[in-house]
Symmetry: C2
Subunit: 686 residues, 2 copies
């Protein structure tokens, strides 16, 4: 693998050498020529520097030098980038964030060649590129580096790496402790505040991926240059935890698309090549090697080299993709992200419960949202971000207006919408003050669960949701039980959307369909983006079945009496064709005070297009029954073969509380919030 | 590979042995339990018989015997299948076609064990299963076996294989020559009439895939049992040609989805494992081995074994995926299917021009349709069939009503619709009488083309279309030029749809959008299934750019003056959610007599989500100009760098005719229907 990396890098760098130095005057926004060219250049500087370290070949050294000397001509004369957007302007790029990334890469490429340059060249590069960039990104941009935010982490990493390279302790200390060196900002403070004690990043998986590179790279530099800091042991090993959790918050290698996220981001990214190599160097945990194997790539650094050698030596062990309770917030007390996995496979069934914090400006208004994925990919989905990253024609690759109006709205998620408005009336800054609460979590055994709650998302409405993943004998895939309960003294409209991926096969709901004219569901809070395909109702349990790739999925719903069902699709009021068009089922009750929505997702059957075989295209769940018993809710799932599974969810979430109820004359007892009872078919032999 | 096949088959057969014999009374339609169980049984009989041949292990022989004896108990008492549909009823299955497939497989599994059974068992199986099935499918179903149709081929193969097995010449002759042995029907007549001289099958690629198995398997049996017939040399080697062409009419292994076709069918299917193994046995062409390698599978027969051995021995050679002119109709004179490929790769750029016959009941009303695919999959698309194969909830997996109302309609294709009606007024039986004409084809060099025409699709309207695939220096992908011309003495509405796959990025057409209420385009001929997202116009060349996976695609249009553009999507008037929702651009002119539509598809740029790099997201084609010169149309493509490519399409399609025109004072001459002139930028040095 490492030989392939060298070969690939050599090919690219040699092509760059042949093409000659191209350091254009900054002009274009993301996706435009000068933007992409400066990105190519920092990649080339990084790669050529590493190649020089590995091969000692002069042309690599000279190319790094020539590129940086060209920047030495250009950089000092630059003012704010002409295409600056609402973000903080950079010099080389439209936002200073990209300038930070440039510096992080450039220092790593420059370091291996620096000692081999003439004193004059070295000084010119130090004084006209590295130092002024570091200065711009530190004292020159206090409003960036002083934040507790991934942009600041990139800035700190660039500034700190430059400081170590130049032997400039001042720069290093500013990077570590903030411009005033008080420790109220800077890298260490970011480590304190941006990760929960479980290594979960405040903005969610997509930005955890992005932030992990400067955290890991600067962390490794601190470990090398300031070993006494024992940075990898800092805060109980938070850097190592953060790297591990970055891997855990993926499914089939794709970062969970919660908050503002592009769904195509995977572990096969530059950031994760760095993070996995550094994580392996810091822990020697052979599970990192199996992730590297999945990635098929690594970095050209010494850490990457060591990792590739151990992988080649067959030292890899499987990564344990297990269930995890990731406390959210700096102290881990602001709710949680819960991952329930049925099998340790990278693409095994995964239920995600999002019961944490807002996640700053890139967070969505989606407390108590849930997702489900399996080897077919996302099944119960999150839209992610409305954005075409780096596509110039789509507003230069920036977040699009529909990111606010649709993607971050509550109705774009699988969680309760009250009175047609987003949580916190759509105000994410208000949401910053109100995390969800994680009431109980069960990670092990055949019955795993997450219970979360929030009372502040909607004034006067308390919402609680229990999600239970059930392994059932004879069913290849788990069942997902959802019990969402709203309680209020006032009357409300409750909408519970379910966004799913697949083609509708059938339903026992009689929908009145909008066949020849398609209206829009509402006017604001995301509803303006939903076409209404049909509306219907059904007494008792209803079912919607869809198909995705090789499997069928039936969603069984038991909403409050009088509920209606809406089939909708995103894409209305989208003048610039910015939205993907994806279906959802909405359960709606109007004028209710308290309301319980019981849902059951049942993956079933298999479809083999090649062999033209289909099995179990019909649902196995025959009935769904919900009753309130003293201090608990009882949901009874009846399978087609007559077996019944009773799931009891207690009001009291204390782990040690014993509960006892009577079902059909039988006493059922359990301890803790969730009890489960597999009952033989009525009349079956005991 | 062969060892893996044996292992897989042994695993499945052993599971079947453990599960015991399950031969249910026929009840369910496609996708239902009894349907799937009888399918499993014939697969098991086939596999167990082959395993017995390969291993000599008694349990395989006994399992074949026990299964067939169970059928011996069941079969003679069966009447028409209770779930029979509009097709001809079978005994075991809802349509007799599946019974034929059963017999083809059962004979192949029974043959290796037959001699090893007791005389009583053998006779019971012969007399109560094989012979009555063969009799039902021959004399018992004259309306099936007497047709010139794939159903008849399956019947002939089953009957003929049974005849060879039982030593019953009568059955063999009926299979070969028809029930009356006149040769007016039967296998040989099917070979005469169902394939064109180029081995292209009358119903198109999807059914060619399906039909090739009985053709190949029965062909191999004839070669083995009646070597004097020299069946593989019959009709100038039509069987070998047919097998080769079956591979050629795929892209990235997927059968081209023209006519009634499921788009997920690939070379990785049972039919093709048989066909490739038999094709290799008949030709020893090592290119078949590389197809087998792509398939990753083969059959358990001696042919599969020999193929696997040669593949393992490293004898494979690449399949030459080249451009092909596949004449259509029994004599190859009824138009053609034209494949233009830019590179010999299995997933290389491929332009398909469909200028052939109707293709019987599964044919679509799409003369002069075109498609384009590349390594991102289909780009200019065909909806294929409206059907969920074997999905019971979707009308038992049958063709759905929307297959007639949408999928086969002209507007569902990339070809001209006149006055809002499908070709031949929507009547496929009328279409059977009117193939398109293939006027000229150029398969080689950097400028490849197809010119087709039809005058009978719409009364009084002559339509001619030239599609030209242009390799251009500096462009990674070819340009596709489309010149469609309609001429009529009357005034008409001309609609030219372009169905594309991808997400719209931008357009220079100002669309008036239906943002909050979405109307339907029309009432019949497929228009009732199209939602209208917007309508606009633009003087001169217009552009629509979309993105699919890693690439951008710009479609440049230069329709007649006054044309309007409609952005539409399939899915309206679809009460049972049977349709996929896919976009199209329609160019519309009203009240025109003659009309020329010039289109240019430009694939460009690349998007790398992992590396976050984008190149060439803007189109390179800056202008498109069309002028009529004496006896030719001249289209001038101007690239962003100033280069111009002039493409001349002569009215006279004779290959030897010399043409001469003047462009900007320069004399340009060429021979044959298509000329091409790459012109340096104005003012550039010569």
């Amino acid at each position: 693998m490492f030989a392939a990396e060298i070969e690939r890098a050599a090919r690219e760098v040699d092509a760059s050498i042949r093409a000659g130095i191209n350091v254009p005057v900054p002009k274009d926004p993301g996706g435009g020529f000068t933007h992409e060219q400066h990105k190519r250049n920092y990649r080339t500087i990084f790669a050529a520097g590493q190649l020089y370290r590995l091969t000692g070949e002069a042309r690599y050294r000279d190319h790094v030098r020539d590129l940086l000397l060209a920047y030495a001509d250009l950089y000092p004369g630059l003012g704010p980038h002409p295409a600056q957007a609402n973000q903080t302007a950079g010099r080389l790029f439209w936002q200073s964030l990209n300038d930070s990334v440039f510096l992080v890469n450039a220092v790593q490429g420059y370091a291996p060649v620096r000692a081999a340059l003439s004193a004059a060249d070295r000084q010119r590069i130090d004084d006209r590129v590295i130092r002024p960039m570091a200065q711009f990104l530190s004292d020159g941009s206090p409003e960036v580096i002083g934040r507790i935010h991934n942009h600041a982490t990139w800035a700190c990493a660039g500034v700190g790496l430059a400081g170590y390279l130049l032997g400039d302790r001042e720069l290093v200390d500013k990077a570590l402790l903030g411009l005033d060196k008080s420790g109220k900002s800077g890298f260490l403070r970011q480590l304190d505040l941006l990760f929960s004690p479980d290594g979960y990043y405040a903005e969610g998986p997509y930005y955890q991926r992005y932030a992990i590179q400067p955290f890991a790279v600067f962390g490794a530099a601190i470990a090398a240059n300031d070993p006494d800091r024992r940075i990898f042991d800092y805060r109980d090993g938070i850097l190592k935890k953060a790297i591990r959790t970055t891997v855990d918050v993926t499914h089939n290698g794709h970062f969970l698309p919660i908050n503002d996220a592009m769904p195509d981001k995977t572990l096969r990214t530059e950031e994760l090549y760095h993070a996995v190599a550094i994580g392996y160097a810091a822990t020697k945990d052979p599970a990192f090697l199996s992730i590297a194997k999945w990635q098929g790539r690594t970095v050209l650094t010494p850490e990457g080299q060591a990792l590739a050698a151990d992988l080649a030596a067959g030292k890899a062990a499987p990564w344990n993709f297990g269930s995890r309770l990731l406390g959210d917030g700096p102290e881990g007390k602001d709710g949680a992200l819960v991952l329930l996995r049925a099998r340790p496979a990278i693409d095994g069934p995964l239920l995600v419960a999002k019961n944490g914090v807002q996640g700053m400006g890139h967070g969505h208004l989606d407390r108590l949202n849930w997702l489900y994925s399996d080897d077919n990919g996302p099944v119960i989905t999150d839209y992610g971000a409305a954005r075409f990253l780096n596509v110039e024609a789509k507003q230069g690759g920036r977040y699009l207006p529909e990111n606010d109006s649709w993607a971050s709205a509550t109705v774009a998620h699988n969680t309760l919408v009250v009175d047609g408005k987003s949580q916190f009336d759509g105000k994410w800054r208000v949401g910053e003050n109100h995390p969800a609460r994680q009431l109980s979590t069960g990670l092990d055994g055949p019955t795993r669960w997450s219970i979360g709650a929030i009372d502040q998302a909607y004034k006067g409405v308390a919402i609680r949701r229990a999600l239970v993943m059930l392994d059932v004998d004879g069913l290849a895939e788990p069942l997902i039980l959802d019990l969402l309960q709203a309680s209020s003294s006032g009357r409300h409209v409750y909408d519970l959307p379910l966004h799913f991926s697949g083609h509708i096969i059938d339903s026992d709901i009689e929908f009145a369909r909008n066949l020849a004219e398609r209206p829009v569901l509402g006017r604001a809070h995301g509803y303006q983006h939903l076409w209404v395909d049909g509306e219907g109702s059904k007494a008792g349990k209803a079912r919607l079945t869809w198909m995705k790739a090789s499997r069928f999925y039936s969603y069984h719903a038991l909403p409050p009496a009088g509920a209606r069902y809406l089939i909708v699709e995103s894409g209305a009021n989208d003048p610039a064709f910015n939205l993907r068009r994806e279906p959802a089922l909405i359960q709606r009750v109007e004028g209710a005070t308290d309301a319980s929505f019981v849902g059951l997702l049942e993956p079933h059957g298999s479809y083999d297009a090649s062999a033209e075989t289909v099995v179990a295209s019909s649902a196995r769940v025959a009935a769904l029954d919900h009753r309130r018993v003293p201090d608990a809710d009882l949901v009874i799932i009846t399978l087609a073969d007559g077996r019944r599974i009773a799931v009891a969810v207690a009001s009291d979430v204390a782990a040690g509380t014993a509960h006892r109820i009577t079902l059909d004359g039988r006493q059922l007892g359990w301890t803790g919030p969730v009890g489960r009872f597999d009952l033989a078919p009525a009349g079956a032999k005991k």
